[in-house]
Symmetry: C2
Subunit: 509 residues, 2 copies
């Protein structure tokens, strides 16, 4: 018997397909296209109702908080031998929706991806249904061309008429790509021989830079000790003098400075590093300059605010997450390169012959998948493209400007109220000062007491379900809240509600 | 003026929100929830019609082939200053669907993720609409618990009653995770000090192992030269004797063998490496054993076929992609660990204080995001969970067995026809022998001529649009086709069509 057939077992399994056995009915249910489409349509209606109708209604809860044990019981997560009925499954869909956080709710201020854009969401449903991989023109003809176009447009906003880039699964991965390409640019032998063939390397990022820099250094085998942390000023912006000092320090330890990460919009404070001054220093030291603009890159759409990233065009690479301020939906992250020598491809390519055949009948330079460290790669360009088509560059610009305007409104309103103390940051970060602590700034345990306020308010908020906002300590500042106001559905009324609600949640503290 | 307000510009932008300006109508359109929902609903109908009705109809084309220049013109990809009308945008949705490859079409045999499961697709639409990140219980309560449950179930199929794991964006990333965790297990100082603090390391994988091993070695700073390639036998299965020889060779070069990758279901041939013999060798040499079961892992569902991965429970880690044989949809990939010492967390954690606060009011061990090298992480567990709930372990088992049965049918039919020559592989890989080459096996240019047959047939197939199947050369075998028959909608009629169509496409060659 032939090798294949032998492996498949001796007893013919064809009956399984051809004959009508007692299990046939069940199989029919499983494999019926019309039943499948019916279920999908009904489930879509549930999704619309539970998430997009109720979930965007400010009278409804942002979350239906349950303790883990309660939630486990409610969801009945166990996976069993036999399947469930159509009706039971629809209830599953309803339950998942019900107990999940509504990140599209106008009172979800907790994460940088808050809000919903319906055109982007349409692009995402289309992407899921088409279910292809962004690696060859053969299986993703539309998306290969679309990714090229979107990357080109984003690069032109950065200020580059040519260059390269790729969509990655999130900003941390985009930052890792930049670091790896920079390393290959500095020491090309690393691809084949590894780090044992190179000198020790040094990376620079500010103390407010995203933690993905450390994750990248560890993952890439460079090590977190070789990430030199540069000090920031009071607003959270990198101090260029300290960058120079840290470069000297690295050199004194025989580490070669090759990569500086400047941040455009730090995660918590929203600070922008001084890009032109960092570019000067990078150039003088022959270093690759990366800008992590995951959060702040979208200011490039706004004539009014793009001065915040002046000098970004001098970078070698830029990370930018349109799933944040622009609301493209998770995940939509790009890393852009100024390079025009195909460095990204040279750095990552492995030339798999089963996928990237060179004797195809079309231009195989369109098979861009070998630029990626992934093999199968999700299509992330369509949601951004469709949203952009829908509201234009102008609409995206307005979205960014509205976010700034709402932040400004909040700041002005907080300044009118005694209960709030703003942090010295660009993002709206603040402390709520409860009645018991007002006027006690000079008492010995003030900071310690204040640090406990945000966690208590957060717990009450989650259990009440009215809204969500995040808190964190940072660099000697005790727990403070950070407000995210990017959703285009927001109005000043939502801002007023937010302030009143915080006061109400903390009135007895 | 306060720092925040200063940065926001001097001119008040609040008019922009509060007042009725000439641009108000446009903004209303952009931000209106009811318009957004209407668009989404109409677009959903287009998606159903164009992709799930037409795209699964075997009378319709798998792809509407267009040359890149033609397609660019048809799609009008350019992104402009102003947005488009509702009607134009619906046409965009229709065009994207029309010119994309229908991977759900019964005649799409081109990739391992061929086919569609409607319950999984429902889970994906639900995931997209909920738009949250799989990092904390706070923003993903349902999915944190669900991931835990699904991983536990998958581990139990591997044979582990405890352990760890995580969903990753694709099999290549899952393999990279395994390699990095193995490296940390062997040399924990690598996380902080990098590879300069370790001896040279050696990785082992077979010549048929996935190319992501080389990509991982390059990305992790180990270098592709330190990937030792182990020979395979005729079926594509790793030769354990050669693994032992390669370990000796690595040691003689002062490289420390720390990681062996065994493959369960190679990408092209579908071969299974002998796991028990590889486990013996790994244990004797104190190496971490990883099994890349991205393709073949799903045989664990089948009592009939799981002998193919006998010994998998002896591995330290396993990659498994339910988006392949099980049809969960791109991307659904896990890496599972036998480890019970929290190695994954220790290896990857960076303890970001803004996200993983320790003073939360719930059990913060549920904030599993720090196990990942990503920050924002897409929810990939729901689609698998919902599909599993729908058809049960039993239904998934049937799906796997049906794929094997169809492969067996194809093999038997090919053996009946003179025009096909099977490769010695587990996957159905074959050459089509066109009329002009029949009986000429001994002529000098036979192999060269045969190598040109598949690309020509593929080009004709794409332009005709009737079906899609991939081809590739491998290890001295000239271009051959590889059939993927995992879609649950397939019948033996589709197999017969496939064979007839190949013969028709190549009848004049």
């Amino acid at each position: 018997m032939h090798g294949v057939a032998a492996l498949l077992g001796n007893q013919s399994q064809l009956e399984f397909i051809k004959s009508g056995t007692s299990g046939e009915v069940e199989r029919m249910r499983l494999w019926s296209i019309s039943d499948g489409k019916l279920f999908l349509t009904e489930a879509f209606n549930v999704i619309m109702e539970e998430i997009l109708h109720k979930g965007t209604d400010s009278e409804e809860k942002v979350c239906e908080w349950k303790d883990p044990d309660q939630l486990r019981a409610l969801l009945d997560l166990d996976l069993r031998e036999h399947g469930e009925s159509h009706k039971q499954l629809l209830q599953r869909v309803r339950d998942v929706a019900r107990y999940s956080v509504k990140t599209c709710h106008p009172r979800f201020f907790n994460q940088l991806f808050a809000g919903v854009d319906y055109h982007a969401l349409t692009g995402r449903l289309l992407t899921e249904t088409l279910n292809t991989s962004q690696y060859t023109y053969e299986v993703a003809p539309v998306f290969v061309l679309m990714e090229e176009e979107v990357l080109c447009k984003l690069r032109s906003l950065v200020g580059w008429s040519e260059g390269d880039g790729i969509f990655c699964p999130g900003g941390s991965m985009s930052n890792m790509y930049a670091m790896n390409v920079a390393r290959y640019w500095a020491f090309p032998q690393v691809k084949t021989q590894g780090l044992w063939a190179t000198p020790r390397m040094a990376i620079f990022t500010s103390q407010q830079g995203h933690y993905s820099m450390k994750k990248a250094a560890a993952f890439l085998g460079i090590g977190t000790d070789n990430v030199f942390i540069v000090q920031v000023d009071e607003s959270g912006s990198m101090r260029p003098e300290d960058l120079e000092a840290k470069i000297v320090q690295a050199k004194s330890q025989d580490a070669v400075p090759f990569f500086v990460n400047a941040t455009a919009g730090t995660t918590v404070q929203g600070a922008f590093d001084p890009l032109n001054r960092i570019a000067d220093i990078s150039e003088r030291n022959g270093m690759w300059m990366h800008v992590d603009a995951a959060w702040g890159g979208s200011v490039l759409f706004s004539k009014k605010h793009k001065h915040l990233v002046a000098g970004i065009e001098r970078a070698n690479s830029v990370t930018w997450n349109p799933h944040k301020m622009l609301l493209a939906g998770l995940q939509c992250s790009v890393v852009l390169f100024r390079d025009t020598t195909n460095l990204l491809m040279h750095c990552h390519s492995a030339k798999a012959t089963y996928l990237f055949q060179q004797d195809k009948f079309y231009d195989t330079s369109l098979d861009t998948g070998d630029k990626s460290i992934q093999c199968g790669r999700k299509v992330d360009c369509l949601k951004l493209w469709l949203m952009w088509k829908a509201i234009g560059t102008h609409g995206l610009s307005e979205r960014v400007e509205k976010a700034f305007a709402l932040a400004r409104y909040l700041v002005e309103e907080m300044e009118k109220r005694d209960n709030f103390k703003l942090g010295p940051f660009v993002n709206v970060c603040f402390w709520f000062i409860p009645p018991s602590l007002r006027g006690k700034e000079n008492s010995a345990d003030y900071q310690e007491s204040l640090s406990k306020v945000a966690p208590v308010i957060k717990e009450r908020m989650m259990k009440r379900g009215t809204m969500m906002v995040g808190y964190q300590p940072m660099d000697g500042h005790v727990n403070f809240f950070r407000m995210v106001v990017v959703s285009p559905q927001l109005t000043t009324k939502d801002m007023d509600f937010f302030l009143d609600e915080i006061e109400d949640l903390g009135k007895d503290l």
